[in-house]
Structures are given as structure tokens and as C-alpha cells.
């Protein structure tokens, strides 16, 4: 029996439709050179005809920042159509989360957007805390802010490093990773892990910062603004970078909003929407910082906005560190938080709580909650549905990269293929977050 006979006709029809779409290289023709590909030609004999080339771009291509695949239709050097194809690193984290108790979900959730792990954990913990109605102590909130903003800088550094690499500037890569190394060292110091730290817990953070952390953080904060100025000097003094970024990939704020785009991309277009200011969560209202915005919404604005955001994050961390309140770093609600280690030796109740939490986990009242936070890429929202048991009935992450990618074809169509690479770099998609 041939393989085809095993399939029903409907299936094979569907499949062939898919294969048609997938066809890597197709050639079709346009009648008028320079005109849009679908323009109806007058068909005069002797008129020059131009071929359209559909090119398969990725998924394994260093400029796609992961395993993003693009079907790009080109008219000469000009991009006419882009179809992003995603799902290559879909690992079913949302499904996995349904089979784990709430506190065990945090490590898998962190692996979604793998450059913004603290933000994933924050969105999830925030949603669960809303459902459980647990109060997070002030010190834990400040520690969260410190780590969130450090993570924002680290994420922006990685973005800057790889984006500059896409534009052909390799030295930026080493400089940015040099500074990112200092941040992951700080993460290692406070949580024991350099990435995917599982530092945030429902009800607070897992541990207080160790001795010497504040000094190390202070020296980083002293160093960082100067380093950002160096990046600026390197990039703003570079004619090639400016020529490739200015005026390319432009999209106005209204189209971005219609497509649901948030974060630095929206702010680069002049809309100062930032959840940290608009809907302050986690004590962000206590800090004095500004929202950098761009003017026209091209690639250069996106670069400038993110660089300025690093400066603002440094300011926030400084304020949070100096104003770090004394007190507990974890809620005292024993139904949610593990009891301190020393209590286990003396208190029977503490031992029971510990046993219940570790084996079954805590139960969450039935209900649904959506908790949005401002991640380095925009609104990262976690929607959690609880059915009353110790495992979530549904965890859905509204990942900003997933939504922002929708705007990519509008940004890059009509530009040159080289500008498409720059636009993709400035879009900052993280495929781990897109595919989840």
C-alpha cells in the first residue's frame, strides 16, 4: 500500500495545500517592473517582465534570533510579502503546567521567554497571588523590582549584542555580553542560578539577598551608565549603523496598537504606554523614573528607546536598593509559603505544613485571573484558571513576542531585504516565548 492511500482524501488535500504554501522557491512574474506584484499588467508585447522570488528564510539562520522561519517574496531586492512560520520550539509548557502543582510550575514558566525569566515568574506568581489573595511583603516586592530591572537590562543587553551582530558589528557583542555577565553573577549570588533562577515564589522571594550583594550591586550600578554611554558613542558615531536604522521599518503608533504591539516598539512610535507607570504593580509606584519614547517609530528610535530604558532601569534599581525595607522576604501565610528551616525541628505544625506544601502543594480557590507585567518586550500577561485543586486548570501566557511578530510584515514590506534583517533585529522576537 502506498503511503498516500492511508490518508483520507480530506487530509491529503489539506496537506497538499500546506505543501503548496511551504514550497520553498516559486517563481512568478510581474508585468510592470517596480509595480506591486499583484498589479494587473497591460500585457503589451515587448514590455520588460520581472520575476518574483519566494525565498525560504530560516528556521536555522543566525539572523532569525532562534528558529523563526520566514517565507519572503522578493521583487529584486525589495520585500513584497512576508509569512512568518512559527512553532519549531513549541514544547507545550502550558500543557505541562497543568500537570504540576503551582509552585512547581514556576521553573517551567520561566523557560518560555528565556531572556526574561524573572518576568515570566512575576506574571505567573502575580496571577496566583491574585487568586489566593496573599499579601506580598514590601521587602519581597523591592527585591522583585531589583531583579526584574536587572533582568530587563540583561535582556536588552542580549538584544543589543545580537542586533549589532546582525548589522555586522561584532565588537558590540563582546561588550554587551561582558556587562550581562556581571548581571548573571548577581543572579547567581542571590539565587544560586545564573539563568532560570526560580527566585520568585508565590508570596515573595525564596531567599533574602546574601551579605556582600548590596556592594556588588552598587558597583554594577556605578559602572553601567558609563557603559551605556559607550554603546551610544559606538553606535551613534557609526555611519553604517545610522544609515541602516534611520527611516527603516517604520510603523506608526495607530497601526501598532491595532496589531496589539506594546513595549519598546510602541514607545519608539511615540506612545508612552508602560504598565509600570500606568498600572503600577509590585511597588513600581514608589520609584522615580521616566519613560523614554521615540518620535517616528523607525528602527533607530527602537534602538534609542531601549538604550535609554537601560539607564532608567539602573535608576530604579538604585532607588530600590537604597530604600530596601527591613522585614520578611516571604509571606507569613504558612498555607502558601514554606516554613523557615529552623521551625521544622521544634514545631509539629511547621512540619505538617512543610510536608503538605512539598507533596501536594497549596490549593487555590477556583477562579480566573489575568496579571499583566511590563516585560522587556511589552505586555506579558499570565492568565491562570484554577478549579480549586493544587494544580492549575489552565495557564496561558500572553507573550509579547508572539503578538509583536504580527507587525513584522507591515514593518518590513516595501523595504530592502537587508532592512528586513535590521527590522527583525530591532523587533526583538524571542522564539522561546513565541512558541512556548
Amino acid at each position: 500500500m502506498s503511503p498516500v492511500e492511508h490518508e483520507t482524501s480530506a487530509q491529503s488535500e489539506k496537506l497538499s495545500e500546506y505543501r503548496r504554501r511551504e514550497q520553498s522557491i516559486t517563481l512568478s512574474e510581474v508585468d510592470r517592473p517596480g509595480g506591486p506584484p499583484d498589479a494587473a499588467g497591460d500585457g503589451e508585447p515587448g514590455e520588460t517582465r520581472q520575476e518574483l522570488l519566494t525565498l525560504n528564510f530560516g528556521p536555522h539562520h543566525p539572523a532569525t534570533h532562534g528558529v523563526l522561519r520566514l517565507l519572503v517574496t522578493l521583487q529584486g531586492e525589495v520585500v513584497r510579502d512576508i509569512k512568518p512560520i512559527i512553532g519549531y520550539v513549541h514544547t507545550g509548557i502550558e500543557k505541562t503546567a497543568e500537570d504540576k502543582s503551582y509552585w512547581k510550575v514556576i521553573p517551567v514558566i520561566e523557560r518560555m521567554d528565556y531572556l526574561a525569566y524573572y518576568f515570566n515568574a512575576m506574571a505567573f506568581c502575580g496571577a496566583v497571588e491574585t487568586l489566593v489573595e496573599v499579601e506580598v511583603p514590601k521587602r519581597a516586592q523591592y527585591l522583585r523590582v531589583i531583579n526584574l530591572e536587572l533582568n530587563r537590562i540583561a535582556s536588552h543587553l542580549f538584544w543589543l549584542a545580537t542586533s549589532a551582530l546582525d548589522l555586522g558589528a561584532i565588537s558590540m557583542f563582546w561588550y554587551c555580553l561582558r556587562e550581562r555577565e556581571l548581571i548573571v553573577d548577581l543572579f547567581e549570588m542571590s539565587s544560586g542560578q545564573r539563568m532560570h533562577t526560580r527566585y520568585f515564589q508565590v508570596g515573595g522571594v525564596i531567599e533574602d539577598v546574601p551579605r556582600g550583594y548590596a556592594e556588588k550591586l552598587r558597583s554594577f550600578l556605578k559602572l553601567m551608565p558609563g557603559r551605556v554611554d559607550q554603546y551610544r558613542a559606538l553606535l551613534n558615531g557609526n555611519e553604517i549603523v545610522l544609515a541602516r536604522l534611520r527611516g527603516t521599518g517604520r510603523l506608526d503608533a495607530e497601526s501598532l496598537l491595532a496589531l496589539g504591539v506594546t513595549g519598546p516598539l510602541l514607545r519608539a512610535a511615540g506612545n508612552p504606554w508602560d504598565l509600570r507607570k500606568a498600572q503600577p504593580y509590585c511597588s513600581y509606584g514608589d520609584f522615580d523614573f521616566r519613560i523614554p519614547i521615540g518620535t517616528v517609530g523607525d528602527n533607530y528610535d527602537r534602538l534609542v528607546v531601549r538604550l535609554a530604558e537601560m539607564d532608567e532601569s539602573v535608576k530604579i534599581i538604585g532607588q530600590a536598593l537604597e530604600g530596601l525595607p527591613e522585614g520578611p522576604y516571604m509571606t507569613s501565610d504558612r498555607k502558601v509559603a514554606l516554613p523557615p528551616r529552623h521551625e521544622l525541628a521544634t514545631s509539629m505544625e511547621a512540619l505538617i505544613h512543610h510536608f503538605k506544601l512539598v507533596t501536594e502543594g497549596f490549593r487555590v480557590p477556583p477562579g480566573e485571573a489575568y496579571y499583566p507585567v511590563e516585560s522587556p518586550r511589552g505586555e506579558l500577561g499570565c492568565w491562570v484558571r484554577s478549579d480549586g485543586s493544587a494544580k492549575p486548570a489552565r495557564v496561558h501566557m500572553r507573550d509579547p513576542s508572539f503578538v509583536n511578530l504580527q507587525a513584522f510584515s507591515q514593518m518590513a514590506e516595501g523595504g530592502y531585504i537587508a532592512d528586513m534583517i535590521a527590522t527583525l533585529a530591532m523587533l526583538d522576537p524571542i522564539l522561546g516565548g513565541i512558541d512556548r
Partner: protein, 171 residues
């Protein structure tokens, strides 16, 4: 957030399209008739909720109507959020797409990927969606993996001996 009273007012304005209003943990949710989704979203846009922040799929197995779609709307001027929830029967999981369906219609272009994701994971069909295909799972995948009755790890690894597309081995 609209408070509980504000939510009731919005619910009354929409009349019979609203099945229920839920105010839970400072969060307003309108439970609506699935067929009226486009009208409700258009009405809420008129009220200022002009940004669709997110779209979630959910499965209320074993209850029926089982599959849910949740729209998170945001009013950026007043910094106000409202959720719109609808539920469809698993036998006929169909609902109108929020995408613009005719020239001049603003619609919600942000729904294009997100509705595809809900279709992919739960099998909810969005009528009028311009390109309703699977987005994260392979195109020829069968079943809807985020449904609650879809087993975790229930998918056998395909080897040459159990590949349904290969002819059975002959001794």
C-alpha cells in the same frame, strides 16, 4: 477596572447579549452569548476599550458548553481593563472571528495569531478568519492538545515500526 456597579451598567446596555457578569478579585468579566461577540466587542470599543490585550482559550471539561474564549480588552486612556468571555459547545465549536471582515472595518487585527492559537490548541473555529491554520503544532497534526481530555505525554513517539504512514513490515 470598572467596579461592580459599572460592570452591571455595561451589562444592562448590552441587554440580552450578556448572560452573566462576574466581578472577581477586582476584575470585571462579561459572559456573553457566543453569536454576539462582534457586536459586544464593537460596543466596548465605543466605550473606550479600544485595545485588545490578549485572547485566551480555555477548556471547562467536563462541563458543557465546554470551550471558552476570553478577550482581554484595555482602555489605555482610563487604564481600565475588562474581560469578555464566551463559551461554545464542543460539538459545534464555532464563533465569529474578531478580525476585520470587510474593507473599512477596523476589527481587531491583533487577533490573527491569537485566534489561530486557540484554534490550534482547542479546536475552536473562528468564522471569517482569513487564514485559520494551525500555528504552533504541525499542520498535519490531529487533535487539540490543550483540551483537558487530551492526555499529557499521550502521544506515542513515531518509529519506523509504528508509523501509520508506512506499510506494515512483512516477515
Amino acid at each position: 477596572m470598572p467596579d461592580a456597579t459599572g460592570l452591571e451598567l455595561i451589562g444592562q446596555e448590552l441587554g440580552s447579549a450578556v448572560l452573566d457578569t462576574v466581578f472577581f478579585r477586582e476584575r470585571a468579566t462579561l459572559v456573553i452569548e457566543p453569536d454576539s461577540v462582534r457586536d459586544v466587542l464593537a460596543h466596548l470599543r465605543g466605550e473606550g476599550y479600544a485595545f485588545m490585550a490578549s485572547l485566551h482559550g480555555v477548556d471547562y471539561y467536563p462541563e458543557e458548553p465546554r470551550l471558552g474564549v476570553v478577550y482581554e480588552l484595555l482602555d489605555m486612556a482610563r487604564v481600565d481593563r475588562i474581560s469578555v468571555k464566551l463559551r461554545v459547545h464542543s460539538q459545534a465549536p464555532e464563533v465569529d472571528s474578531a478580525m476585520p471582515d470587510r474593507p473599512g472595518d477596523r476589527g481587531w487585527p491583533t487577533a490573527v495569531h491569537q485566534e489561530r492559537e486557540v484554534y490550534d490548541m482547542f479546536g475552536v473555529v473562528f468564522r471569517g478568519h482569513p487564514d485559520l491554520r494551525r500555528i504552533l503544532m504541525p499542520e498535519d497534526y490531529e487533535g487539540y492538545p490543550q483540551r483537558r481530555d487530551f492526555p499529557l505525554g499521550g502521544e506515542p513517539v513515531t518509529f519506523t515500526y509504528n508509523d501509520p504512514k508506512r506499510p506494515p513490515a512483512t516477515a
